[in-house]
Amino acid sequence: MNMLTVVTFAPLLGALIILCLPKEKVKAIQTVAFIFAGISMIASLAMLPGFDRGTPDMQFIERYAWIPSFGVQYFMGVDGLSFPLVLLTTFMCVIGLIASLGIENRVKEYFFWFLVLEVGMIGVFCALDLILFYVFWELTLVPMYFLIGVWGGPRKEFAAIKFFLYTLTGSVFMLLAILALYFAGTAPHTFDMLELAKMTGGWSKNFQILVFLGLYFGMAIKIPAFPFHTWLPLAHVEAPTPISVILAAVLLKMGVYGLLRICLSLTPVGFQWFLPALVVIAVINIVYGALCAMAQTDMKKMVAYSSVNHMGYCLLGIAGMTTAGFTGAVFQMLSHGIITGALFLLVGVIYDRAHTRDISAFGGLAVKLPVFAGLMSLTAFASLGLPGLAGFIGEFLCFLGAFQTWKLAAAISVLGIIATAAFFLRMLQKVFLGKLNEKWADLPDMTTRELVSVVPLAILTVLFGVYPKWPLDLMNKTIEHMLGK
């Protein structure tokens, strides 16, 4: 049984079926979307027992020739680095679908694109062939463009175009780098990542640096790393809530994943060469992202900038070039996906009711909406790294890894933690505490649908924070061997 194919392409089948359904049958469309995203999630969960935690090697490998004349293969597999992210993706997509039940116009197209997006995202984490990787990578772009551009906010077209063109620019350089790797490999030429990784010894330093920069450019825009991050706040603000969730929870992770999976293994010398710059970028991402978030009055934009800050922790962990840092980066990806996903959902909840996201427009909501206030506080505290919640473990491991190599950079980055605490606390204070703003005196508390989408994330946040063993065990062996080959 080709489990990875099932996981990856079940949503595609769903998308095709949705295409055949008449657009008036909203219920049927939603059901089909849930069934196929659910199949994908259940299949990925079903892989858990079979996943060998004791080996650093690729598992669940599927390998078929695709375009033999160019050495392109359909080559899928997961290891401790990618498998947690596959689980995150399939899980967050179901959460995103629950949140999507509120979408009312052009339902058919929406769910179609949503499922296509899911295929692309899962595929990126499973693909072990560079061309296959690239195809999946680009496959995420088009649905995202439509999802933002059609179902977004007031400036949706602008945001969609900016997102599309900017990320596409990055991908072009990535494609060039991939082709360079293809021709640099010894004959017979191949796009196989694992094969290419064995040939790195024969490549000159300058070549590796050049290729690394090409790859990095593509990844950095997705991460997003300073100074290529400015598309993110706009895209987040304009995107509909579920798409913001997916964007933050999964799409950003593709960049960091690519950095670890491709840049590190295929251009180790270039990677090493770039480390000092990477750590500076990480520090800027952390401190500067937090400062920008502090200046926001729009809740969604604030959360978006906090993503810049949080992805900076991932970069910092990676820049440390220690296994602890890598562990931290992967864990931070998981926890950020869960926590920021929940934050976006919650911001969506308040926006649906009040039709504003202005922080200072509220006040004293904790009395009227205790459940909402509790969940928002939980996720906000998780996001600012309160121990006992998932954010802390990832953040701490990132710092732990980076500190061994870059003491000063880690010390400066701690300022980012403080700034993060500052803006989240201010948000909590202005929105929930103080005297109740009479304008919102009759806002209803969260509905069941909203609770169903947020509560699982909240539970996972606590679970991962208290007992991080489960996700860590999945990735430990792989990461342990990422440096000491």
């Binding site: 100074p227 920008c292 121990p387 880690a410 500052a422 204070q429 005297k435 860590l472 430990n476």
Partner: protein
């Protein structure tokens, strides 16, 4: 009993969850008794542990670890899986503190049943208090500094929740934010210290770190940096200069909560952590000196502020800060035992003072001491118990404060004379401002008749804990001091002579093997420490005799200045020394400095965002777009000039032809088109066939 020590933090944690999620919000629900019951069990466990330890039945330290999670780590280029332990480490100070925390928490919760009985968020209050107690106990028992740090932060969270308990008002919400941010600032130091420790030692386990230092693997510089980081954390949590600004504001919370968190236990956590990792400080004399001076400055500044404040809770808050300064200073000069001793006694009398103040506030509904006065007749039990606490904190011989403060001063005397004289002055100021509080509140005649008229003694649930704490405030010092029990329980840890730093066995397993062989705080080491500490525990004879008289003198001064309803003498002083009073009223302008810092940060944030929107976005997105467009324009030009001309030529030709032909047909008629096709086809066919 000690093997179940892990239950001590878990029981109140479970209780808080049950209360938070299992109970309905109801001002009269019996939910509070869940927390009280849980705390009683914990108190029983703690007392049995302490009794057994004091009697020598169980050897301390006791350590037991479980596996929590593993992660891949690499130190010195070597990758390994680090197994993070979670467990309990109970040494003397931990055993003592367990009893202190559970006891004070129990008293506070019983007291709160009466104090909070009309509040709409009754169950939440008790859940928060239990949650706080659980995290504090977690810090006390933890064998792993990372777990300790996590509990430490959770304490910060519960402090945040309790300060802002009445969040409808602006005061508490501002105060809770300030408290969280200030302590977070301090925590960043502790955070870095943890990172540094792991980078050097490769372990978070306290005993392994001790072992590492014992082996002389840590250089003085590294130890100093780590110790300063820990100290910074302690400065935030234990409200030391200059981070003490949050504590006076934290009094916005419910008074019993303040008594527990911001007086007796949480603020002592910083001191406790410094004591827990004291071996690092022993390896870093410079950091010790810094700690001593910070403690000294804090004690003095806070005591000075307490001299002029009229808010009863603020005076107590300043007094707490000042006493914490005493403890920090004691630790800084090497007075490990005396610092922790004072921590213990202080917890009792300061909790009592706060609960007493709460009883007063509950009765007269104001914090302003100028509106009180003459309450001794109305509230005799509160009056007597508060009196006991004030005797203790002032250091009247025989009370608990006397023993611990005397020991601290003696330690300082032998270590650092300049600090000693400042601290002696501060001790006298303590006696003065506490007497002032007492006189203004209880003595003489009433100043506000209406408030005085409504005043009444509090119910038994409030006075009961007061009486018990008063008893402890009076005798705990004597009990602990008897037979040198305090020296045995709170024995200073030792580190062996500094060996030159060689190649460290960074691998965690190597260190753990050693740790088994030589328990960190071995009994022998404790014996050794005792000998040294004994001599330092006593002031020179003349000072020892003079001290009580000095204290009595300063109490007498307070009486002279503040007796009577108008205290004209004190007001006269105030106008004479107006600038000094203003400085103290404004709290040394530190709050203003903090506000400036906040404003400054906001400015920086605004600038950063401006840059983001106007520079980074412009350059990297719009700039990129511009570049592309320039390229596009150029290629467009080429296209238009050369390529397109050809296409246009053909296009134009067919267009002209089409326009010419179009005149022939009636537009838009399919059948006509078809006819032309048929005609053309038949013509073509004829031509071909007839050729």
């Amino acid at each position: 009993m000690i093997e179940h020590a892990y239950l001590i933090p878990l029981i109140p944690f479970a209780a808080s969850l049950i209360m938070m999620f299992g109970a309905k919000e109801d001002p009269h629900s019996p939910v509070a008794w869940i927390g009280i019951g849980a705390m009683t069990i914990c108190l029983g466990l703690s007392v049995s542990i302490l009794a057994a330890a004091a009697g020598g039945q169980i050897p301390l330290p006791y350590e037991h670890n479980w596996h929590w999670f593993s992660f891949a780590a690499s130190i010195g280029g070597k990758s390994f899986l680090y197994d993070m332990p979670i467990g309990v480490l109970i040494d003397g100070p931990a055993a003592v503190l367990l009893v202190v925390v559970t006891l004070v928490s129990l008293m506070v919760q019983i007291y709160s049943v009466a104090y909070m009985h009309e509040d709409t968020r009754y169950k939440r209050y008790f859940a928060f208090v239990s949650f706080f107690t659980a995290s504090m106990l977690g810090l006390v028992v933890s064998s792993n500094i990372l777990v300790g740090f996590m509990s430490w932060e959770l304490m910060g969270l519960s402090s945040y929740l309790l300060i802002g308990f009445w969040f409808e008002k602006d005061g508490p919400t501002e105060a809770q934010k300030k408290a969280f941010m200030t302590t977070k600032l301090g925590d960043s130091g502790l955070y870095l210290a943890l990172l540094f420790i792991f980078a050097k030692v490769g372990s978070f386990q306290i005993t392994q770190i001790h072992q590492f230092i014992n082996n002389g693997y840590m250089t003085g510089t590294v130890a100093t940096v780590i110790a300063i980081g820990i100290l910074f954390g302690a400065m935030g949590k234990s409200a030391q200069f200059p981070l003490f600004i949050w504590l006076p504001d934290a009094m916005e919370g419910p008074t019993p909560g303040s008594a527990l968190i911001h007086a007796a236990t949480m603020v002592a956590a910083g001191i406790f952590v410094v004591a827990r990792l004291y071996f690092i400080f022993l390896a870093a004399p410079d950091a010790m000196l810094v700690a001593a001076w910070i403690g000294c400055i804090t004690a003095f500044m806070a005591a000075a502020m307490a001299l002029v404040s009229y808010d009863i809770k603020r005076v107590l808050a300043f007094s707490t800060v000042s006493q914490l300064g005493f403890m920090m200073c004691a630790l800084g000069v090497g007075g490990y035992t005396s610092g922790l001793f004072h921590l213990t006694t202080h917890a009792f009398f300061k909790a009592l003072l706060f609960l007493g103040a709460g009883s007063v506030i509950h009765s007269v509904h104001t914090n302003d001491m100028r509106l009180m006065g003459g309450l001794s007749k109305k509230m005799p039990i509160t009056f007597v118990t508060m009196g006991a606490a004030i005797l203790a904190i002032a250091g009247i011989p025989g009370t608990s404060g006397y023993y611990s403060k005397d020991m601290i001063l003696a330690n300082i005397y032998y270590a650092n004379q300049p600090i000693f004289w400042i601290m002696l002055g501060t001790a006298l100021m303590t006696a003065f401002y506490m007497s002032r509080l007492f006189i203004l509140t209880f003595w003489g005649d009433d100043r506000d008749h209406e408030k005085h008229h409504h005043a009444h003694e509090s119910p038994f649930l409030i006075t009961g804990p007061l009486v018990l704490l008063a008893f402890l405030s009076l005798v705990s010092g004597y009990m602990l001091n008897r037979d040198d029990l305090v020296y045995r329980l709170l024995a200073k840890p030792t580190i062996s002579a500094q060996a030159p730093a060689g190649h460290a066995p960074v691998h965690a397993e190597a260190a753990s093997a050693d740790a088994h062989a030589a328990p960190a705080l071995s009994a022998a080491a404790a014996e050794h420490a005792e000998g040294g500490a004994h001599h330092e525990g006593h002031l020179p004879h003349w000072l020892h005799l003079a001290l009580p008289f000095l204290v009595l003198g300063s109490i007498g001064l307070a009486f002279t200045l503040y007796k009577g309803p108008r205290y004209a003498l004190a007001d006269g002083l105030k106008s004479t020394f107006a600038p000094a009073f203003h400085l103290l009223d404004r709290r040394w302008f530190l709050d203003d400095a903090f506000d400036l810092l906040v404003v400054f940060c906001d400015k920086v944030a605004a600038v950063a965002f401006w840059i983001d929107a106007n520079v980074v976005d412009r350059v990297f997105v719009d700039g990129w777009g511009l570049l592309t467009r320039v390229f596009a324009e150029i290629s467009n030009l080429i296209d238009a000039l050369f390529v397109d001309r050809t296409v246009d030529g053909f296009g134009g030709l067919s267009l002209d032809l089409g326009v010419g032909l179009r005149g022939l047909v009636k537009e838009g008629q399919v059948q006509e088109y078809l006819m032309y096709v048929a005609i053309a086809f038949s013509l073509a066919a004829t031509l071909i066939l007839t050729r």
